[in-house]
């Protein structure tokens, strides 16, 4: 694929998608919680921007609404809620270091390559533009998952989860020109409810184990251990 | 088969059966006499065994308080079963109805019936010796019975029949053939006979040394006519095994037909064979020492092995050839 053959707007989409991917890396490596939330908000904003550009490029008016929804939800509402929660939980200064950041970053890079390799077969269908976007969004999803695997902090896990959702939005918008409206609304509603519930759970977890370290949530298990008590 | 289910046949069968119980004490007396002679003693007269039986029959029987009805029924059952078993073995002539009623397997079964009741009777009173004798008897029986079956199976497979009359007929018709299987089977049979009739080296019929007895231990509580029946049954059993060896393995001379001549010759020949076997037994008992009880299984295993070898050499060497 040659960039020069693409119209400018599509070039812009690619650039924005690349930055979304970069922000995923930032999220993955960011040790300060507050900064991670900010990075997440930026990612949401960029996804909204991609939506906007796609809408403009493809003359798909319903995507304007979608862009607005994404912006409101992903760039504003959810980051705001997270922000408020961190303050309420007194986690503003919380930092968390990954066990071996280099390895994790390398794994994320490997996932990016893997995603690209996965969508290669689509080349036969001559869907090159979308292929790259799908690859990027897949990478964002996988890196989000990777982040959830390596972050031990509940809020950070939620960030990973939400960044996965960003990847999904990106895929939906850029590859398919947006899902049907009702589905989009439904998904947005679910994400919102999920966020509210996450908030509830932060408090419940905090109340029950006095921490938000998910590694300490290990009472329910089959393997014997020092805290191997079953739920009674 | 119908040809020997005739009235004279039945009559002769009854006569032959009676002859068994009549001759049985004689054989025992003969063995004792030869043995005494070999040991440089005069010994009791040959007919002493009859006198003993008569004496016992005339005496009152003493039964322990703790005995059950089975104790008193057992001598009759043991005697009857042993006698019936003996009646199936042709003594003077072949082709008698008794052989059709019960073949060689039934014979073994009847002997087992007798043994079971003997052992049960031994356990009935509840003495230590009775239980000991029964336990040992059943152990020896358990090993001897298959050996005996294997030995006779060698014969029956050769003759394609389990009917003793047919086996003997087959032999006589075939003439003398040197069969390896017969040698093994005969060896096994002799060992079984020694063990089953309670002779040295497995058991000693004259001992009352508590810890070594087998057969006598079971009879300890018996007296009077009960003891007589038990002793008599043992004597019939000895005669039975003698006849089995004499007439089935070496059938020559046995009568074939109902003529008086055949009967006479048959009687004479079988008496001669039995006398020789009895003398052989006496010699054996004199030169051998009694084994320790726990060597007995090895002895019987040898019998089983011989019999099995007989059977195998038959199916491998003789049928295939």
């Amino acid at each position: 694929m040659s960039l020069t053959l693409l119209p400018l707007l599509q070039q812009l989409v690619l650039v924005l998608a690349a930055i979304v991917l970069f922000l995923s890396f930032v999220l993955l490596a960011q040790t300060r919680l507050i900064s991670a939330i900010h990075a997440f908000a930026w990612q949401g904003g960029l996804v909204a921007a991609v939506t906007l550009v796609v809408a403009a490029a493809g003359q798909m008016p319903h995507l304007y609404f979608s862009a607005a929804l994404t912006l409101a939800l992903k760039a504003l509402l959810i980051p705001w809620m997270l922000h408020r929660l961190t303050r309420r939980l007194k986690l503003e200064r919380h930092t968390e270091s990954l066990q071996s950041p280099t390895l994790v970053t390398m794994a994320a890079v490997a996932l990016v390559i893997f995603s690209y390799w996965l969508v290669l077969p689509m080349i036969q269908a001559e869907l090159t533009f979308t292929r790259n976007i799908v690859a990027v969004s897949l990478a964002v999803v996988l890196i989000g998952l990777l982040m959830m695997v390596f972050r031990t902090q509940a809020v950070a896990q939620v960030l990973g989860f939400m960044s996965m959702e960003n990847g999904l939005f990106l895929a939906a918008v850029s590859a398919t020109g947006g899902m049907p409206l009702v589905v989009e609304l439904g998904v947005a509603f679910d994400v919102l409810v999920a966020m509210v519930l996450f908030g509830v759970f932060f408090l419940q977890i905090r109340e029950s184990i006095d921490s938000l370290d998910v590694d300490r949530l290990n009472r329910l298990r089959e393997t014997p251990g020092e805290t191997g008590a079953e739920g009674q | 088969m119908d040809h020997y289910l005739t009235l004279p046949g039945w009559g002769l069968a009854v006569f032959q059966s009676l002859l068994y119980i009549a001759l049985a004490p004689l054989l025992v007396g003969w063995v004792r006499k030869v043995k005494a002679r070999l040991q440089n003693r005069h010994g009791a007269p040959v007919l002493q065994a009859y006198r003993d039986l008569y004496k016992l029959l005339a005496k009152e029987a003493r039964v322990a308080h703790t005995a059950s009805p089975l104790f008193r029924a057992a001598p009759y059952i043991v005697f009857t079963a042993t006698w019936m078993a003996a009646a199936t073995v042709p003594l003077l002539v072949v082709d008698l109805p008794t052989a059709a009623i019960a073949d060689i397997i039934v014979l073994v079964g009847l002997l087992a019936l007798a043994r079971v009741f003997l052992a049960l009777a031994g356990m009935d009173v509840g003495t230590a010796f009775g239980g000991m004798g029964a336990s040992r008897e059943m152990m020896i029986g358990a090993l001897a019975e298959p050996a005996m079956l294997m030995a006779v199976f060698t014969l029956t497979m050769t003759a394609h029949s389990t009917n003793l009359s047919s086996v003997i007929d087959h032999h006589l018709a075939e003439g003398f053939i040197l069969r390896p299987s017969y040698l093994f089977a005969l060896g096994g049979m002799v060992l079984v006979a020694i063990a089953e009739t309670g002779r040295i080296p497995v058991d000693n019929p004259t001992t009352h040394l508590e810890l070594t007895m087998i057969h006598e231990a079971m009879l300890l509580e018996y007296s009077g006519r009960h003891l007589a029946l038990m002793e008599w049954a043992a004597q019939v059993k000895l005669l039975l095994y003698g006849t089995l060896i004499a007439n089935v393995f070496l059938p020559w001379g046995i009568g074939r037909g109902m003529s008086a001549a055949a009967l006479g010759v048959g009687l004479a020949v079988v008496l001669a064979k039995l006398a020789a076997l009895g003398a052989g037994l006496a010699v054996g008992e004199t030169v051998l020492a009694k084994m320790r009880l726990f060597r007995a299984p090895a002895f019987l295993n040898l019998a089983l092995l011989l019999s099995l070898l007989g059977l195998l050499s038959h199916v491998i060497l003789e049928v295939g050839a």
């Binding site: 998910v214 | 079971v116 356990m123």
Partner: protein, 675 residues
């Protein structure tokens, strides 16, 4: 009477058994229901089954029907033919006895803590299941009935569940029954895969390549062998049979094991229908090992019901020896000899049902009146319970294969079949069969030793404990149940010709030829092959034994006695070589009785024996006999499962991050695979 009537009678039997189960629901409110209604109904069901079986055997032919139950495209097929009829007869005989015996036996449970409804309900279902297995004519109904039989008998095994050992026995039983059931199901699956459907008619028509026929045979052999308790799949049997209530033990050992034999015959002889000689060798080998191992293990036991259970392993071994011989002869083209061995096996099935039923009922009677199952505590019961003692003696003689009782006849027939092995072409097979017959002979002799031990220790001698000394004879119902079976032991032994004429319908139907020679010389003479080869006259043996014995008794006690100068029988203390009057503690025990044989065959068992010196100078003897197959077969499997489970639970480590890692890994792995 027509086959329709016979089938209707069989249906009536099933219905009565089901009714018995349903009626038992009332037992919670009215405990006497079980005694007065449910158990007699069971007996009636047995009677109906007996009648149906007799009719089917006498009439010959077969009749089919379908029931509107089951799968939409596979309704329940039922069929009554000679083979089914024979096993109906067998079930009926023992169930009748249980119907007579049960009410009195159950009475003692009425004040127990356990549910009577469960006892009655599952007994009814158990009998229903067995009857339906025999009647089933398609694989699905067969499996339903089969598992119904297993499941309901499992509940009965677990009936006395206070003891941990009983629960473990029930667990092992159900587990092995389940595995066996699945094997059978797969066996049918193999047949069906080459046929058009699951009804037996279609399975019979299936054409199997030899390899798959071998697979089907192996599955069926393992599945049914597990139920039949063949070594080495026998471990559940000696554990489970003894712990059920005794009348149920009688049904389980006497009948349920035969239902397994039925299944084996149905699948291998009837449905597969073609057999290479290797199968015969396999069945013969397993049968021989079971027979010998079973009786040796029985010899080692001192728990009466456990001993009887091990003896069932032995008897099933003998039955399978018969079936193996039959397979061997049939595979080499000797149809008549195959039929002979087949009849011998069936005859032994019937006999074992009768005498094992009798012995278990006897053991139940002892348990009922003394609450004792340990032989070493018994003694002298013959004088306390004369009728039970007498019937038990009949059972002991029958199971020891002593003439003139029934066990002897079937063993005799098996020997006759084995002795025809000279006709076989192959020298290897020819030499194998004699070894099998040697095993059979050894088994027979050891059985006699074992049951002399049982009878001598339990019924003779003196009581070894206080509650045994106070034993009372049981109620008449219990004795009637035993008496009926004891009578059958004698009749089946005394009139073998008639019995074989009855059984002969089965090989005629299944194998296409029976034993035409058996009754040629009239009812008095049994000549299975030809008169020249072998003959046996059951009636005459009975007559002569009884005649001579009674004559001798009468002669000596009456004729001879007249001239006697002194008192004819005097009671006194036991002489015992002049030692002090023997006490009951000086008697041989079951353990000491078995000691010589334990010395000879000890290698086959794990024997843990020790004598420890007590503080007070007395010595204490401890003996524990284990089954080597536990260590060889069962424990390794249990350990493998346990260690696999230990490994697998690492999946559930408790950390949500690890779980997410699994999701990620699965996703990536799958994506990798598809591209």
């Amino acid at each position: 009477m027509t086959m329709q009537t016979a089938l209707a009678l069989a249906g009536l039997a099933v219905a009565l058994a089901l009714t018995s189960a349903v009626v038992s629901l009332l037992a919670k409110r009215v405990p006497a229901t079980l005694r007065l209604v449910a158990t007699p109904l069971l007996g009636l069901a047995g009677l109906a089954a007996l009648a149906a079986g007799l009719a089917a055997l006498l009439l010959g032919g077969s009749i089919q029907a379908t029931l509107p139950l089951g799968l939409p495209w596979l309704p329940w097929h039922v069929r009554l033919d000679a083979l089914a009829g024979f096993f109906l007869l067998l079930i009926g005989v023992v169930t009748c006895a249980v119907g007579l015996y049960g009410p009195a036996y159950i009475r003692s449970f009425e004040h127990g803590p356990d549910s009577l409804t469960a006892l009655g309900g599952f007994s009814g279902l158990f009998v229903t299941g067995m009857l339906m297995v025999v009647l089933a004519d398609d694989a699905f109904l067969f499996m339903v009935a089969w598992e119904l039989m297993s499941l309901s008998s499992y509940f009965l095994v677990a009936y006395h569940h206070e003891h941990g050992a009983n629960r473990r026995a029930a667990f092992l039983y159900l587990l092995m029954a389940h595995v066996g059931g699945l094997m059978i199901l797969l066996g049918y699956g193999v047949l069906a895969a080459f046929g058009t459907g699951f009804s037996f008619t279609e399975l019979r028509a299936a054409q199997l390549p030899p390899v798959w026929a071998g697979v089907a045979f192996t599955l069926a052999f393992i599945g049914f062998g597990m139920k039949a308790g063949l070594v080495p799949l026998h471990a559940w049997l000696p554990a489970a049979h003894p712990v059920a209530p005794s009348h149920i033990s009688a049904l389980m050992s006497g009948v349920m094991l035969k239902v397994a034999v039925y299944g084996f015959i149905r699948v291998v002889f009837d449905l597969i229908g073609e057999f290479p000689w290797q199968w015969g060798v396999a069945v013969l080998t397993i049968g021989s090992v079971s027979a010998l191992y079973g009786v040796l293990a029985a010899m080692m036991q001192s728990d009466l019901k456990r001993l009887l259970a091990y003896s069932s392993v032995e008897n099933l071994g003998i039955i399978f020896i018969g079936l193996g011989l039959s397979l061997l002869f049939l595979s080499t083209g000797f149809r008549a000899l195959g039929a002979l061995a087949f009849v011998a096996a069936l005859y032994h099935c019937l006999n074992h049902a009768v005498f094992k039923g009798l012995l278990f009922l006897g053991a139940g009677a002892i348990l009922h009146s003394t609450h004792e199952h340990d032989l070493d505590q018994m003694g002298g019961l013959l004088r306390r319970m004369p009728w039970t003692g007498f019937f038990f003696l009949v059972g002991v003689l029958a199971i020891s294969a002593l003439p003139p009782f029934n066990g002897f006849v079937s063993e005799w027939l098996t020997f006759q079949a084995a002795l025809q092995s000279w006709q076989l072409e192959s020298g290897v097979l020819r030499s194998l069969v004699p070894i099998v017959s040697a095993v059979l002979a050894l088994t027979g002799a050891l059985v006699a030793a074992t049951f002399v031990k049982v009878y001598g220790i339990a019924f003779l001698g003196q009581a070894r404990s206080r509650h045994v000394r106070r034993a009372r004879p049981g109620p008449w119902g219990m004795q009637a149940g035993q008496g009926w079976l004891a009578l059958l032991c004698l009749l089946l032994g005394a009139f073998p010709t008639w019995v074989i004429e009855l059984i002969d319908a089965v090989p005629r139907e299944v194998l296409g030829g029976g034993l035409p020679q058996a009754g040629v010389h009239g009812w008095l003479w049994l000549t299975p092959v030809s008169a020249q080869t072998a003959s046996y006259s059951g009636p005459l043996v009975v007559l002569m034994l009884a005649g001579i014995g009674l004559t001798a008794f009468w002669g000596l006690n009456h004729l001879w006695a007249r001239g006697a100068p002194v008192r004819w029988v005097r009671r006194g203390d036991a002489w015992d070589c002049g030692f002090a009057p023997p006490s009951q503690r000086m008697q041989y025990t079951a353990t000491s009785f078995a000691q010589p044989i334990r010395r000879v065959f000890g290698l086959l068992f794990t024997i843990d024996e020790s004598v420890t010196q007590q503080e007070d100078g007395t010595a204490r003897h401890r003996l524990k006999i284990g089954d080597r197959f536990w260590g060889w077969l069962y424990l390794p499997i249990a350990d493998a499962v346990e260690s696999a489970a230990k490994r697998v639970v690492r999946l559930q480590s408790g950390s949500v991050r690890v779980y997410l890692g699994w999701t990620l890994a699965t996703l990536v792995g799958l994506l990798w695979i598809i591209t």
